[in-house]
Amino acid sequence: MCLRRIPAQRVQKGSKIFLRKNCSDHGPFESIIWRGLSDINEWVNGSDISIPVEPHCPDNCGLCEDHLRNTCCVLINVTDNCNLNCRFCLADQDGNSPEPAFEEIHKSILELIIKDKTLLQLSGGEPTTRKDLPEIISAAKEASAKYVQLNSNGIRLGEDKSYAGKLARAGLSFVFMQFDGTDDSVYESLRGRALLKIKQKAIENCAEHNIGVTLVPTIVRDVNTKSIGEILKYAISQSPAVRGVHFQPVSYFGRIPEKPGESDRITLDELVYEIEKQTDGIIKSADLLPSSCDHPLCGFHGDFVVDGNSLLPLLKRSEKKANCCCGDTTAAEKNREFVARRWLRPAMQPDQREKFNGDIHDMDYFLKQVKTYGFTVTAMAFQDAWNIDFSRLRHCSFHVYDKGRYVPFCAYYLTGWKG
């Protein structure tokens, strides 16, 4: 928690698994990583998750010869400013930070983009607080970024109808929009104000300009742990404008209200369990597969096609060991295309939700539906000073680009318990 590098081990107590560490200054501490709602060995399925001995991570990140994954998605931070003041914030902005100049961002863009391959995420702070965001998107597209993703709270997109059009014309591919619940009490608790209507408007405005929106809930105990099913049902009802839901169990870095206890953690097995329970089985645990491009304890993915109010799962967990992106650029590229094909909303779709009047097992109907009504359920559990695990860090394929270095996301944003 003071960011000193210390040994760690995973220990089992009953059905629960904890990451236990012992700091010479702060004593022993542990963080729950699995609640035992399913078998962790079946989830990991033979992947090597052993914790490295005497690691040098995360000193000098940049990716080094010990890093086990290539870059799938790359993020640049375009501002530290924000138009919200959330209880939890990875970047801990104060709203008055100097922004990097356009020229600086442009330089990074030119350095990092691999022609017709890169998926670039523009993040912050709140990127839409920058006046030149359309120019940044244009610059990325001119440099031949294949996909440009905006990570946003959606306020500007909801407030200004023409703004989504500007971003679309600049070449924006899709939006990851903070969306914590279908009830304003959730926003009041987490974000400090009612935001549901503006989020809904943002979805509508993006739909008008064919920008796919993936909803991103931060899941916090006793705030929206009971809203998981409602979020998914709402997202399904908004398909094809909404392309999926990307869950982020709360992590404790940046600005946090207090040090986390065991009950503050939402583990991946708990999230998977709650998804099945709260969707009344529309989504089953077996439809959600552990991350193979990253570490299996970092996230999961499920791929579906919306069929009325239900979903047809396209993936099934199996005993077969999953493919990985180990040292192979084509595997990272395959992963990138896998997610982007769903997050991107195909062109030329009608504004009105079509009737689901075919048989999803009819090959032609399936092909028509899957491209329009494809839907992903994904999750990414970020690490913090309590539960950082260098095995996970070395498997990270989601990197922040900063001054010539690609840094695993969790290493980049890691902060000690004092923020």
Partner: protein
């Protein structure tokens, strides 16, 4: 489909193939589509064009990362 314009004859039974609903499975999923089939022996003709277009498209949609 170009092959649909031509008459297809079963080599074994010498019967003209007829378009019939045909089931197939891939990666645990079941689909159906109309394919030319021999009314006598039931053999199905899957054209290269179909394999390279729609069937390959289905495969792509169903495969994991």
């Amino acid at each position: 489909m170009e092959t649909e314009k031509k008459k297809l004859i079963c080599f074994k039974c010498n019967k003209e193939l007829e378009l019939r609903k045909t089931d197939f499975t891939y990666l645990g999923h079941s689909f159906f589509t109309e394919l030319p089939r021999c009314p006598e022996c039931g053999q199905v003709y899957v054209s290269e064009e179909l394999v390279k277009s729609r069937i390959s498209d289905v495969e792509m949609q169903l495969e994991d990362k």
